[in-house]
């Protein structure tokens, strides 16, 4: 829900410019508009510490929307793109990234395999993509938020910060998957537990409204999917770096 207004404003302001011509070759500039939908309302102290020690280890847990098909899928999906972008932006810092991603896994199922994944990766940051599968299966709301709560507690007690990633904006299936309450629950848990939320839904919605990407087209080609994941990886990298800066003011920082 948040950001619907912001995106509407952005559409109104930018519509004229965007319609001038579709950006084909380089999405980077349009992608960055997604920053409009990112709130850096909580710090990442463990990441800050890791950056000071020049060693950042990240664990990404998620379901099918953290994956891309194909032989180079793993290299092009957003976790790898995030690692790449971080390495680029943080010269001198060793960035390690582990994933525990399985299609069709609900939040509770991810929590089950969280402890072993944490003990092998020892991350300073857990990036947790979830919500879609729970919405598709109609999992009980209480169970969903309890799973989120539990996951945060486990990650924190293992010495890691947490960033949530909410579901994708998928217009074709929108009338079949009721993301609404699950997304709101995630937002609420994030605020309550002081966890950053990477609002992937609103970002993708904004891209769709601006015409940056066409999420309606039926295709077997991977090019759009790869660009989207690349953009998400970059935006995530920006969020992680900014939020880990010491005493970042809560209001809008310079971009």
């Amino acid at each position: 829900m948040t950001g619907r207004l912001a995106s509407l404003l952005a559409v109104l302001v930018l519509a004229t410019q965007v319609q001038a011509g579709p950006a084909l070759a380089d999405h980077a500039a349009d992608c960055r508009l997604g920053e409009l939908q990112i709130d850096r309302n909580f710090p990442l102290p463990q990441v800050a510490r890791a950056l000071a020690a020049k060693q950042l280890s990240i664990l990404v847990i998620g379901a099918g929307s953290s994956l891309l098909p194909g032989t180079s899928g793993a290299a092009n999906a957003y976790p790898a793109r995030l690692q790449h972008a971080l390495a680029e932006k943080l010269p001198g810092v060793e960035v390690k990234l582990a994933t525990d991603v399985k299609a069709k896994h609900s939040a509770a199922e991810m929590v089950k395999s969280l402890a072993p994944a944490l003990s092998s990766a020892k991350p300073a940051l857990v990036i947790w993509q979830t919500g879609t599968v729970d919405a598709m299966q109609g999992i009980d709301q209480d169970q969903f938020s309890q799973a989120l709560d539990k996951g945060i507690n486990i990650a924190r007690s293992a010495g890691a910060d947490v960033v949530f990633i909410n579901p994708q904006y998928s217009p074709r299936t929108e009338s079949m998957i009721a993301l609404g309450t699950y997304a709101e629950n995630m937002r609420w848990v994030a605020v309550q537990k002081e966890v950053l939320l990477f609002d992937r839904f609103s970002i993708m919605k904004l891209w769709s409204d601006l015409g940056t990407f066409d999420f309606y087209s039926a295709t077997k080609k991977l090019d759009i999917a790869e660009s989207v994941h690349d953009c998400i990886g970059r935006l995530l990298a920006g969020l992680v770096i900014e939020a880990a800066k010491p005493s970042e003011p809560q209001a809008e920082g310079g971009r």
Partner: protein
């Protein structure tokens, strides 16, 4: 103090305000059911805790009691119960009809859409692989597609309505108390109906019955009893203050930075605002809206009989048909957005066109009702209470 049984819902003419606001609620539900509809920012759910569902359920309870309460007095418990159950059956059939349309839409998407970005989301179509189970679960009202939760709720509410109505006719306060008791027990023991493949009903009947029964209670004389309170400036002031409070909280959903001004204890006290179990905050918000509305829109409001209000009123008078049409139209609207155009202008045009179609259909249903009542035919002319069909 022994209560005087309010046997007679006064033989007054139908309160057009009910039809007006039910019609408006139907429009809002239609707008809200279109995913990512730019026009839905005008609907009330964005400015407070409650939404059009509360209005719809309350007014449905009110009119059900108004219509079947009379029937129960005139023809007795058995006949009235039979009519209530017939109504529930009609709604069931309507629900299954909508489900068939939904299946067609799903099947179309499954066969026409493919995108590696949305592999996970396309998994929602997996149930098409075993339609035997899915369709059976849908007929048992356990499998309910997105936005098709209101009619099953309505069916359940009607199924247990006649004993409640019987009680309300004898002792209104006891009936209302029983309903509030059930609501409390629901919170205590976390009762709900099971859904398929997992989870529970989106609109918990144990919770939402409270609003339905409260509507019925108001119809059977409760409204007159409350009149003194409702018209007191103090209550109106309180209601207005609560609406302002809800509005300011709602604004923090859109402008998260405003959230910093919400004291932590307030946030902890109010969230999560539970729609499934009809949170008390939602009830209060609905009641506040009702108090303010009654304050500004008197029963004999001149505009109620004017052309301006007619489109909403005629929809409200034919709510079942219009509701189902609205669900279908919201599927269709989403189809237009995905297949034709997703510009904001399209959203506006499609939204207005949808409402126009709802009004047109409602007018047609009203016209049918008139000719069926007048025309010579095998059917005997409906009695006055037969007017109920379209309204409960």
């Amino acid at each position: 103090m022994k209560e005087k049984p309010l046997m007679a819902p006064l033989p007054i003419e139908r309160d057009l305000r009910l039809d007006l606001f039910r019609g408006l609620a139907l429009w809002l539900i239609f707008l809200d059911h279109i995913p990512s509809n730019a026009v839905s920012w005008i609907t009330i759910r964005n400015y407070g805790f409650s939404d059009a569902t509360e209005i719809f359920v309350f007014i449905s309870g009110y009119t059900a009691a108004f219509v079947y309460g009379r029937a129960m007095q005139a023809t007795g418990f058995i006949v009235a119960t039979a009519r209530v159950l017939k109504r529930a059956w009609q709604i069931y059939v309507a629900h299954i009809f909508l489900f068939a349309i939904y299946l067609a839409e799903i099947a179309y998407v499954a066969s026409s859409f493919d995108n590696p970005l949305f592999t996970e989301e396309m998994g929602v179509l997996d149930f098409m692989k075993n339609p035997d189970v899915t369709i059976l679960q849908a007929m048992l009202l356990k499998f309910k597609p997105v936005n098709m939760d209101v009619l099953p709720l309505y069916i359940v509410l009607l199924l247990w309505f006649s004993p409640i109505l019987w009680l309300l006719l004898r002792s209104p306060s006891l009936g209302l108390l029983a309903s509030a008791g059930l609501y409390t027990l629901m919170w205590q023991f976390e009762w709900n109906f099971a859904a398929y493949p997992s989870g529970n009903w989106v609109f918990n009947p144990y919770a939402w019955q409270l609003l339905f029964v409260f509507g019925a209670w108001c119809a059977l004389g409760g409204a007159q009893r409350l009149a003194r309170w409702i018209n007191s400036p103090v209550l109106v002031g309180l209601a207005a203050a609560y609406l302002v409070f809800a509005f300011s909280i709602a604004m923090t959903w859109y402008f998260p930075r405003l959230g910093a001004f919400v004291p932590k204890f307030v946030g902890e006290a109010i969230y999560p605002i539970d729609k499934t179990n009809l949170d008390v905050l939602r009830i209060l918000h609905f009641l506040s809206l009702a108090v303010i509305t009654v304050w500004f829109v008197p029963r004999d409001w001149s505009l109620l009989k004017s052309r301006i209000c007619w489109p909403a009123i005629v929809c409200g008078q034919n709510s079942l048909g219009v509701f189902c049409l609205g669900v279908f139209l919201s599927f269709a609207a989403h189809f237009v957005f995905t297949e034709v155009s997703n510009r904001v202008l399209t959203h506006v045009i499609v939204s207005i066109a949808g409402i126009a179609i709802m009004v047109g259909a409602a007018a047609l249903i009203s016209w049918y009702r008139i000719i069926e009542r007048q025309g010579p035919g095998p059917r005997p002319p409906a009695t006055k209470t037969g007017y109920a069909e379209g309204s409960a």
